[in-house]
Symmetry: C2
Subunit: 292 residues, 2 copies
């Protein structure tokens, strides 16, 4: 008799309350039901409820006051870094935030078949594979695995890859990059990505898979990116296009990024709010675990 892999009850309640809070069912600043009430309501013990509340508190979603109750933290939810759909980070630098890159792995070899296929390589053709982590203000937010055909990869050094954008190096080699396709999806963090991004195993991640082609149609870069959703997300402005029968949304290209300044303000604000709390709770998760 195989028992179902039941997620820990504390986690179940944590996710339930988290959804209620971010959905706004529990008004910000309001008190949520007492621990005994929650325990009976969800048919678990109070200890388990406390575990769930511990997680919520660590994420800054609630604030507990001994003798009084547990309250929904009324500061705006922490906004992730904003990236437009073309995945450009330049405006972050404009905002005076420092980005950095750590090169975790670098080497040449035969690529997995799925990547060879998407790059249009001949069987046995070699590629350069690299794994990098991007940091903003010292905190990791993306985990990038790239595969580039060997004849391109050889035109730059390992040190250059660690210092400059990969696409810039590819274009410097004489290749013109014209077209690309990308897909955005979600997955769970495995052990390596979790360690690199300073997350728990099993945390949710945004994924971006992009293949860049040169005009002839050959692939020149295969990028697989994992993003921390609390520090990164894709934003875009849309306009309604098409005639009456077939109306749809299209990305606003005119670059009327009217929200840009507003987003920037929000980001700054949330940042200060957060530091006001003292310790950044997300960050210390692992450390706390170690100590106890």
């Amino acid at each position: 008799m195989k028992s179902a892999v039941e997620p820990l009850k504390a986690r179940r309640i944590y996710l339930l309350l988290r959804d209620r809070i971010v959905a706004g069912e529990l008004p910000p600043g309001g008190r949520l039901p007492g621990e005994p009430a929650l325990a009976t309501e969800h048919a678990v013990s109070r200890v388990t409820v406390r575990r769930a509340l511990d997680l919520l508190e660590k994420e800054g979603l609630v604030q507990r006051k001994a003798g009084s109750g547990t309250f929904v933290h009324d500061t705006r939810a922490v906004r992730p870094i904003v990236a437009d759909l073309s995945n450009v980070l330049s405006h972050l630098i404009d905002m005076g935030r420092s980005t950095d890159v750590k090169l975790l792995s670098f080497g040449y070899g035969i690529p997995p078949e799925s990547i060879a296929e998407s790059l249009g390589l001949k069987p046995g053709e070699r590629v350069q594979r690299s794994v990098r982590v991007r940091l903003i203000d010292g905190e990791p937010f993306s985990y990038l695995t790239t595969h580039v055909p060997e004849w391109i990869g050889l035109t730059y050094s390992e040190a250059e890859l660690a210092a400059r954008p990969l696409l810039e190096l590819i274009e410097r080699s004489g290749v013109t990059t014209e077209r690309a396709t990308q897909a955005i999806n979600a997955t769970l963090a495995g052990p390596e990505a979790a360690a690199a991004l300073d997350l728990e195993i099993g945390s949710p991640l945004l994924t971006l898979t992009r293949i860049v082609y040169e005009p002839s149609g050959r692939g020149v870069e295969h990028l697989h990116a994992l993003y921390r959703p609390d520090r990164y997300s894709f934003h875009m402005d849309l306009v309604r296009t098409g005639n009456d029968g077939e109306r749809r949304w299209s990305p606003a290209l005119g670059w009327p990024r009217t929200t840009e300044k507003a987003e920037r303000k929000k980001a700054d604000k949330s940042k200060t709010d957060k530091s006001k709390l003292g310790e950044k709770p997300t960050r210390s998760t692992r450390a706390i675990k170690q100590r106890s």
Copy 2:
């Protein structure tokens, strides 16, 4: 002494192997290390390794042969439904697949503050809130929560909402929808969404938050969508634009969706593979729990 919330070891190994397989480190069709080898390698018992392999097998990533070994399933990874970034499903219908909508909840009330703010409502202004699930070929793939100002929501009935696209109803009411902003992110499935999407609690989900504005700048729709990543993902074609100093990717609007037919074939194939597996085990978790 608070014990560390260690993710289940079976899950840890499952994620590790999953990453290795999808990254292609283990060649498709190849045999992965035997269960005893994996057990000693990761310092767990063989029972735990088997749990991880059970999960991988259930997802169709590996195939086990008694007496022989466990092999990476060489069918192409299951491709999710493709949606372009404007999130249009019309081409799915063109492809002869049936979509359906289930209305889970419908009502009026005061919205949470974050939604009221993003819609630009006055304090106390009421909204219509609805929760819907979208199915494709009978399988749920998205969980949609929408908030619409009351004066718009009153122009259509509950039955109409269950039958027609919300945006169509909004436009029918005389409102012109011009602009929208959206953000794509990732999160974990809470109990309600997990049940509606036929998933385990804690599964990864793609999120899309879109706010639609009328020309005056007032918000007319707040959409929060959760997507099953194995059944849905965002695809887009990009072209390189801008002059030399400031080059970036922009979405290709010309609609040269050359991959469309290929994707369709893949999707159909994966579907048959899946039904071949017989019972879907994910669903029965809750029932099992009740009994014990």
